[in-house]
Homo-oligomer: 485 residues x 2
């Protein structure tokens, strides 16, 4: 393909994508294909000679789009939002087009320096403490990772290594092989499965602690577990707190957990993958009270902050900890041209120029645009609450048996007008309703609510009012709604 | 930004990228900026309100491009190739544009099914044994990971868990905390630093074994190390073999290593990140002799096979092993609609639709186009060899002191006509010369060679002739060259 063909193909694809979004309301949210549908649609081998791009574009339309679950349909209320925006798409086109990776600074000065600056921009937008900034005097800093799961694993490995070092310092007679199997970490039962997985991958026992009735992990529960483990000769090394759980958007009590961790010298990692974006609006920052005791903090701009996947933002209070856990002896003893050396804060050894799309999104939206997006989506969730008395990413309990809930969901899927997912919340099957697409409007909420109501044949649904129960945030979010309208 | 503005911005960006490549020869390969250059060029905060896209595009030109190291310049011979192609760029635009993630099949049937098919296409292109295919009767299969570093970590964790299970089966009286600290893994001294890093992250001792004079890890060296460790009560769990080392593109003796691993029940992971793409040409497949004893195999289409980063291909002989190591109890006990469940073969819990760009590249190039690209780049390396008597990604030893080599490199960097990197090869500083850009032509090799020669003030450079020493591949690659011209 020569440059002129690339211009044509690229522009035709921009138009295809634009048309796709122009028509997104007309497309059924769930794909109608059956498992294995692709088998007969594509040959079993790579074509021996190249095919024209026009044929490939036709096949996107013929083979791919009919097999998509449309995450950006305004009727998609399942899983979680995955960010998408026009500046984000073009940002990705640019970073992929220029195609310059980075390892150390010399391999791509623009990539490293823009990422350093963008992570500071983001930290300031969220109101994180200054010590997390790359530009701070101290050892704090931020970096873009691939995924929240990866960030959790990175945080846990930092905690593991720090506990190992600290224990060796206190007990120089012990050795690594004695200490490592005794390390233990904690999270809540409501935390994402990726946290339990991080424990599995890091060979660190991950205790899933019970939450209070609002889905929040509390300090006393954590402290009790730590004391029990210490009595058994184990070594607590890490706590993973969740701000915005997957099931019901519950917030752990960071303030209480932070004090326990700080007193015990235990690494505190925060998984705010989804809900962290809301801290761009000052009125929600009370939910991260206690942030000053956090060692690493992660949220995904690629979930709720309009930056196309992948872009998972992670900060460390002390980046020396991650370097100690991740840096191996360099092949070439070289003085770095520029600090920080982001390549030692991650699992891969090179990085894509993801800062570019973050820059595009932050500039073209501005603080105002980002805040407007967050507030609008919360106001839509509040409108659903107004209809159904629930708030945000929350749980709709149909009151009856789990099987009735499952029946309702099956029927909703079969009709394919909206897409919802179930979740076990406190041992009960509930329906999650998430505002996902940035195209979702008030009329779409009404549409979804009518669809649900039309199918609830039994009693009136009981709603977990997370506004009161989980977040105590009603007045703040209502204020936000007022400001936004 | 509305849809019409997106069309304009997108198309202007396609043109910008096309112009960039049209002019790539005119740009100095290394950026002239000084460390910290970006500080004064961008504000310290996100703009309060959104900015027009035209201003952002101007700033790409003003701030970003001058700070790039141009990985696709035909004069870039440093690090390793990072793939880039027009079909790959448009593929990335599409996957980012449609913006549909996947977790399980229901979340995006097209993504899962295309990835399953594309990994089979790729396996067939490389001539991997049929048991690695997703469509095989057995438990084998392939998946796209983010990076080779990640694939190595995944392979190592599989080996760790399998050894743990096997040991527990043989010695039911032992427990996990006794076994895990005794696990040990092996790789060569010439392997990429990411392999040592994987050992650090997985808390598995990674032994760096010496190679033969060609940079190749041999079976007897491995066997000796294993016997020694077993005598010391340790438990060998994994070997990471390299096909194409970073320093000199040496190939471990997979046949010998495979037999040792197979006899000892030790997981064998292959890191063929860069050189694996060459197996698309049957004449290089002799270098993967012994592949039938491999448990996991990884190569990066995003290095040398024209697919824009990230796209790291990984296959397992038995995917049950990775599921045992990676799968945590599901939140919802759900029967999967479709197998394989790719989400349990990786660290993150969701995946981008990367199969799409792989599909674009494989179709628009075809087998013929892929092979032509590989053969052309090898023929260019052979032309450099013809000039300098070296082959492929190889090592140029200036014969004198390391300081002379460093001086030469500094002078080359200062002049900024070509970009080369040093490497310690068998304890000696040598110059690596890599064919990276797909735009590199014969005239560029001449250009580079003249540049090097003009600066070599001392004795005639001595060349490690890897063609004879490392690969025994002269006749095959010369044949390839003939076919290609």
């Amino acid at each position: 393909m020569n440059i002129e063909e690339f211009r044509e193909f690229g522009k035709a694809s921009v138009d295809y994508i634009a048309d796709y979004f122009e028509n997104i309301r007309k497309i059924d949210v769930i794909s109608k294909v059956e498992p294995g549908y692709l088998k007969t649609k594509l040959p079993e081998n790579v074509p021996p000679t190249g095919e024209p791009w026009q044929k490939v574009l036709q096949d996107v339309d013929r083979v791919i789009v009919p097999g998509l679950t449309h995450w950006h349909s305004p009727h998609f209320h399942a899983y979680f939002p995955t960010a998408n925006s026009f500046p984000g798409i073009v940002g990705e086109l640019f970073l992929s087009g220029l195609g310059c990776l980075s390892k150390d600074w010399d391999s791509n000065p623009a990539c490293i320096e823009l990422e350093v600056r963008m992570m500071d921009w983001l930290a300031k937008i969220l109101g994180l403490p200054g010590e997390f900034l790359n530009s701070s005097e101290g050892p704090g800093g931020g970096v873009i990772q691939n995924a929240a799961s990866e960030s959790t694993l990175v945080g846990l490995l930092c905690g593991k290594q720090r506990a190992l070092r600290d224990t060796l310092k206190q007990h120089p007679n012990l050795d690594e092989t004695y200490i490592i199997p005794k390390l233990v970490a904690y999270t809540s039962k409501e935390s994402n499965s990726s946290i339990e997985k991080a424990g599995l991958l890091a060979s660190v026992t991950m205790r899933l602690l019970p939450t209070d009735k609002n889905g929040s992990l509390r300090g006393d529960v954590l402290l009790e577990a730590i004391i029990r483990d210490k009595d058994d000769g184990l070594i607590p090394c890490c706590v993973v707190a969740t701000l915005g759980t997957t099931g019901s958007c519950a917030f752990d009590n960071l303030d209480e957990l932070g004090r326990v961790c700080s007193n015990g010298g235990i690494w505190l990692h925060v998984d705010a993958a989804y809900a962290g974006a809301a801290f761009a609006c000052p009125e929600y920052r009370y939910l991260m009270k206690g942030i000053e005791n956090v060692d690493s903090f992660n949220f995904n701009p690629h979930k709720w902050m309009l930056v196309n996947s992948d872009c998972s933002a992670m900060w460390f209070k002390n980046t020396k900890d991650v370097e100690r856990a991740f840096k191996v002896k360099a092949t070439l003893p070289k003085i770095p041209s520029f600090k920080p050396e982001l390549e030692h804060w991650q699992i891969p050894t090179s990085r894509r120029f993801r800062a570019l799309k973050l820059w595009f999104v932050l500039r073209i939206y501005g603080i105002e645009g980002i805040q407007k997006h967050i507030r609008q989506q919360i106001s839509l969730a509040k409108f659903f609450e107004h209809l159904a008395r629930i708030w945000g990413l929350s749980a709709l309990d149909l009151g009856g048996e789990d099987s009735l809930t499952q029946e309702l969901l099956d029927e909703i899927s079969r009709r394919n007008k909206i897409f919802l997912m179930p979740y076990y919340y406190r041992e009960k099957l509930v329906v999650r309703f998430v505002i996902c697409s940035r195209f979702t409007e008030k009329s779409d909420i009404l549409y979804a609510w009518r669809e649900i109501l039309s199918l609830v044949k039994h009693e009136e649904p009981y709603i977990h009012n997370s506004d009161k129960d989980f977040t105590n945030g009603k007045s703040e979010s209502q204020d936000a709604e007022k400001k936004n309208t």
